[in-house]
Subunit: 271 residues, 2 copies
């Protein structure tokens, strides 16, 4: 535990029997609630803190059911299945007066060596220190908790409508700010730092929300330790925006070319 804003935001107190309590923090505030990535990291942290947990995170799905309010929350963790290769967990975040605001599932798996193969190649990128850091002043608080060095993709979406339709693709270096050694909870948060694509495409603000987020963790803990505090290379893109919903997929790469995580989400938009 450090005094990093992330560690402070991920502070959970065990209440026993798979129950934990915590509080939202202003540093990770988004528009009408906490940044989704911090909620994902909290649900993962609760599973990782469970005394029966074995192995590392393999998959996480988070369903954002309702706005999380400012203040306290409880996270309830249930081990549904304790198998030889995997453990299956169900997680819920509950708030007084709001009921269940988030549901999720986590799969953990044993660390072991197997045949390995990496058909996907990392995207090309100049060294992070050669790319300017995106300014985050005057924007939603959570953005300032990350250092974004954007190589491709619109950085701002405060144009007057109608903006020019732009690409949904981003390529950037990203890490926690101030820098912090990478771990799975941080990675779960980083996986959601790719702005909801419609804002990039249209260039102006319109009500949006992540509906469901799924992250696959494809690296062992040693790869995270190797990466340490250095920026991750991220890419994201969307396939289709239609009938008020859109998908997007992102990849997070270590700077040695190891794919650390892939993350997919479906987002809601109003107009």
């Amino acid at each position: 535990m450090t005094d990093h804003a992330l560690d402070f935001a991920l502070k959970l107190e065990p209440l026993g029997e798979g129950r934990f309590c915590g509080r939202t923090t202003p540093e990770y505030w988004n528009m009408g609630g906490p940044f989704g990535g911090i909620t994902a990291a909290l649900l993962l942290r609760a599973v990782l803190d469970h005394p029966q947990r074995r192995g590392r995170p393999v998959a996480q799905t988070v369903n954002f059911c309702a706005a999380v309010g400012e203040g306290g929350f409880e996270i309830q963790v249930r081990l549904v299945r304790d198998g030889r290769s995997t453990q299956h967990w169900q997680v819920e975040m509950i708030q007084d007066g709001r009921g269940t605001v988030t549901t999720g599932s986590v799969v953990t798996g044993a660390e072991r060596e197997t045949w390995a193969h990496a058909p996907a190649a990392p995207p090309s990128a100049p060294a992070p220190q050669t790319v300017p850091v995106m300014p985050t002043e005057g924007r939603n608080a959570w953005l300032a908790q990350y250092e974004f060095r954007v190589m491709e993709g619109r950085e701002r979406f405060d144009l007057e409508p109608p903006g020019e339709t732009a690409s949904a693709a981003s390529r950037l270096w990203v890490r926690d700010r101030p820098d912090r050694p990478l771990d799975y909870a941080a990675l779960a948060g980083l996986a959601d730092t790719f702005i909801v694509r419609i804002l990039l495409v249209r260039g102006y603000f319109t009500p949006v929300a992540t509906v469901s987020l799924t992250t696959y963790f494809l690296a062992d803990e040693a790869a995270l330790v190797r990466q340490g505090t250095r920026p991750l290379l991220g890419v994201a893109d969307a396939r289709a925006f239609r009938h008020g919903f859109a998908d997007q997929s992102a990849e997070l790469w270590a700077d040695d070319g190891t794919l650390l995580a892939v993350s997919h989400q479906v987002t809601w938009y109003k107009e």
Copy 2:
């Protein structure tokens, strides 16, 4: 309800209060249990059959916790959140003596018209009738319930090890066999017809299992009706195989170029 094997496999009897019962069918049998796509379709069907369900499926995650045994099962559906734009559902499949074998979540959303944009273009493909149908004789039963016309990607994986490492990518036309009008439950099944990629890559059988499957439904019901019984264009690929787990992503396109669904999964492999 027709006498199609899919409709027979998806037959659920309501037990009241979000509980349904059904039975596995031999037609969709895989190696050590039912084909994962039929389980996904069943969980979706249970949500769609729930009297409180509004709107169409938007997202589904299925966690394959344990092998589903031959015979009866119960599906329990819980409406966690009934919002204006989305409904959030939790689903579990339970078997006597086995407990919870599958968990899942489903998000449904209202059908409505909005701004639309399709940055992803459909893959190129020759007309389906010009591509030979993949033989499925002597293989796991479920394969015979689909008509695969493979344009790219290894079709068999019964080589003696060591096979030559091949691409993880597939491009194919696929539909239910015999052909059947497309609906969301069928689409949920089709989304899992992309063979676990490690078998294609290595070319020989090795123990594998889908751990978690997430499908986003990006089309309204009208698009499914338009597609009717004609083959869908599918592509799939994997990014990384490491430490006993691998990811894969697939897209299912209507033949008019509409992206109907994207599907992601993380798979376990033994060696």
